[in-house]
């Protein structure tokens, strides 16, 4: 009975509460809304268009994914240098611009590419044949295309087509970059054939003989080695030892410092230099080794250079099977890229080494012993990209874009670096500016119009200098022009400014 009263009492209290609570609330009106929301990814009306860029390594997926907007931008750098049979010095950047110097007088040849050479890839190497038959300046591209400038006719021609070269098929088959072209400099002086010799990273070798049939015959040419190796040859040098039965020699070197000799269709290891970061190999006159210690018994031996700043030449001491320091430090201005020795004048006892640095500086030795150096300064001036990236708008609204610096790696080793936007109304706006001599970093983030159904162009200028491969991160902020505070996009750009071919593992 007691339990019953308890239970009845509890029910009663609950009932009282149920009656009293509504009148206890202060709300007069209570309304509830419920909405469902759906979020989807949208193909934007703002599209990133890289068709104007001719760099085959350009990668961007700005139009595909969120939060991933990486680009590789192959910069321009001086790539190779060559001294011909008459002591004329030529050098080329990776975009194919050729300059040559005759006794210090600078001449411009230009590039074989009128605009777009993505099909052929960047230029990796340069060689010249300058004899009584032909005077050819040959460029080899990373994909194995060959372009020749005929110095007599002052015309470029596509040797891949005209000579029926098939080097590019090796690239297609193995993706093995072509890395070096040489000629048998001075080898023709006694009537021997003048060859262009092409080598790729896998050590495959093809030769083309220009001497008696400059328009297609191979004579002593053809595939000298078509079996890929694992040697990773980044630079080669050819030499005719005219004082020893006119024997031809071909040497190669890998980035990790192994020097190879090509003989009877095979590469064999000559010596491990125990030096890393080797970029170039040449044959020159030693002035401190006795002739019994040089590779050739006429005082000529192999020389190699490292990529690093603050290094010297290294010469090959055959008796001790080592590479030793030679001369003085030449690398004070940039990353070392290639070396060439003037054999022609050396036979008149004027020994000159030319060392090309990526920023266009050429260090040239001014005494016979390479302890004093002069410089052709920065012939590679700042490079202006045609249009690195185009931003197309199919939007019905006008936008305003600005660039904001985020972060960088090694970018401040560049000599200069600027980013411009060209607006839809053709105004060129400075977005970012860096200048090494004053260490000035400016980010004005000038507002740039991206009008409806129009574009913004992004242009870079830079001199990579000692930057190696550098990374520059920035934000592109796009906001609709009217009304304000409606739509804001932040795009995150990660630009890897490539300053060497990707087979150089730096």
């Amino acid at each position: 009975m007691h339990k019953f009263y308890k239970m009845v009492g509890a029910i009663a209290i609950i009932l009282m509460l149920l009656v009293l609570i509504p009148s206890g609330s202060n709300s007069d009106v209570l309304i509830t809304y419920k909405y469902s929301s759906i979020t989807t990814g949208k193909v934007p009306c703002i599209q990133f268009n890289n068709s104007t860029n001719f760099d085959p390594y350009w990668l961007t997926n700005l139009n595909s994914y969120k939060n991933i907007a990486h680009m590789n931008l192959t910069s321009v750098w001086s790539q190779d240098i060559y001294t011909d049979d008459l002591g004329i010095v030529y050098w080329v950047d990776n975009y194919g611009y050729v300059i040559y110097s005759v006794n210090g007088n600078i001449n411009y040849i230009g590039s074989p590419y009128p605009y777009n050479f993505s099909f052929a890839g960047s230029v990796v190497s340069l060689a010249v044949i300058d004899d009584s038959y032909v005077w050819y300046v040959a460029l080899l591209t990373v994909y194995g295309y060959v372009f020749i400038y005929d110095m007599n006719t002052k015309m470029w021609f596509n040797a891949t087509n005209v000579w029926g070269l098939n080097l590019q098929n090796v690239w297609k088959q193995y993706s093995s970059p072509w890395s070096s072209i040489v000629s048998n400099t001075l080898g023709d002086s006694n009537g021997f054939h003048e060859l262009f010799i092409f080598t790729n990273l896998n050590g495959e070798v093809y030769a083309f003989d220009t001497t008696f049939n400059s328009t297609g015959g191979i004579n002593n040419g053809g595939w000298w080695n078509s079996n890929p190796t694992s040697f990773k040859i980044v630079s080669t040098v050819a030499y005719y030892d005219e004082r020893r039965n006119n024997i031809g020699h071909l040497f190669g070197v890998s980035y990790n410092g192994i020097v190879y000799k090509f003989q009877n269709g095979y590469w064999t290891t000559l010596v491990n230099s125990n030096l890393n970061g080797i970029m170039g190999i040449s044959i020159g006159k030693s002035t401190d080794l006795p002739k019994r210690s040089t590779y050739f018994n006429n005082g000529y031996t192999l020389f190699i250079i490292q990529i690093f700043n603050g290094t010297t030449l290294y010469e090959y001491d055959r008796r001790n099977a080592i590479f030793k320091n030679y001369g003085g430090i030449f690398t004070i201005k940039g990353t070392n890229q290639a070396i060439s020795f003037d054999l022609y004048n050396s036979y008149n006892n004027v020994n000159t080494w030319y060392i090309l640095q990526t920023n266009g500086t050429i260090a040239l030795s001014i005494n016979n012993i390479a302890t004093a150096w002069d410089y052709y300064n920065n012939f590679l001036f700042k490079y202006e990209t045609s249009t690195a990236l185009k931003i197309d708008s199919k939007c019905s609204l006008d936008f305003i874009g600005s660039l904001y610096y985020n972060s960088s790696i090694k970018s401040w080793n560049m000599y200069n670096f600027t980013i411009y936007f060209t607006s839809s109304n053709n105004l060129i706006n400075l977005e970012f500016y860096y200048y090494w001599p004053t260490q000035q970093i400016v980010n004005p983030a000038t507002e740039t119009l991206l009008s409806s159904n129009n574009s913004i162009l992004i242009n870079f200028t830079y001199m990579p200098n000692m930057a190696f491969n550098s990374t520059f991160n920035f934000y592109l902020i796009l906001k609709n022009q009217y009304p304000q505070n409606a739509i804001v996009y932040v795009y995150n750009f990660n630009i890897n400014i490539v300053n060497h071919f990707n087979y150089i593992p730096i």
Partner: protein
């Protein structure tokens, strides 16, 4: 004994009180009743930048033209844009409070399960539009209530006027669906 007394009296009060009241005053009236729709005094509607975002295909929330509000149950579509790292759609919605001054209006977001990486902001005071700043590539919404995204369960007192709503898509935003529920009380 005491409990028994209370229980007895409570039961009597609960069951008999209405009877006692009815018994005290016996009056009878008849009222015709009808139900009609009326524009609410507090409602969600398209914001001043709705047209802009909608024109870009980024936002859609159908509004009842006759009343100007977005009906409960309406699906709100909003899109992030491929390639963008951060994206903000500001002042695309608004909450209008037309309740005459002197009465208190509170709004409470009961559910806010937006897709991953999407947050919602409401302006800090009536008549103040949301704005933004970008720092280190990250958009921060300005003029937002408590300077932060809207959270659930916290009653927000609304003055008379208009409050603006915006959405922020972080770099973690993914496609998905969600629910926004809120209720308001007028007292």
């Amino acid at each position: 004994m005491k409990i028994r007394k209370i229980a007895y009296l409570s039961t009597l009060f609960a069951f008999l009180l209405p009877t006692l009241v009815v018994a005290t005053v016996v009056l009878s009236y008849t009222y015709p009743t009808s139900t009609t729709g009326t524009a609410p005094e507090v409602y969600l509607a398209q914001g001043p930048n709705y047209a802009t975002a909608n024109a870009m295909g980024l936002f859609y929330a159908n509004q009842v033209e006759s009343s100007g509000n977005i009906s409960s149950g309406t699906k709100i579509y909003f899109n992030y844009t491929y390639g963008a790292n951060n994206e903000a759609l500001l002042n695309v919605l608004k909450i209008v409070n037309n309740v005459p001054s002197g009465r208190t209006v509170t709004i409470t977001f009961d559910t806010l399960t937006l897709p991953t990486g999407v947050t919602m902001y409401i302006s800090s005071s009536a008549g103040t539009e949301l704005s933004y700043k970008v720092s280190n590539g990250v958009i921060t919404i300005l003029n937002a209530l408590n300077n932060q995204a809207v959270s659930t369960g916290n009653p927000i007192s609304l003055s008379s006027g208009t409050y603006y709503i915006g959405f922020l898509f972080s770099n973690q935003a993914t496609a998905g669906s969600g629910t926004i529920t809120f209720h308001y009380e007028i007292s």
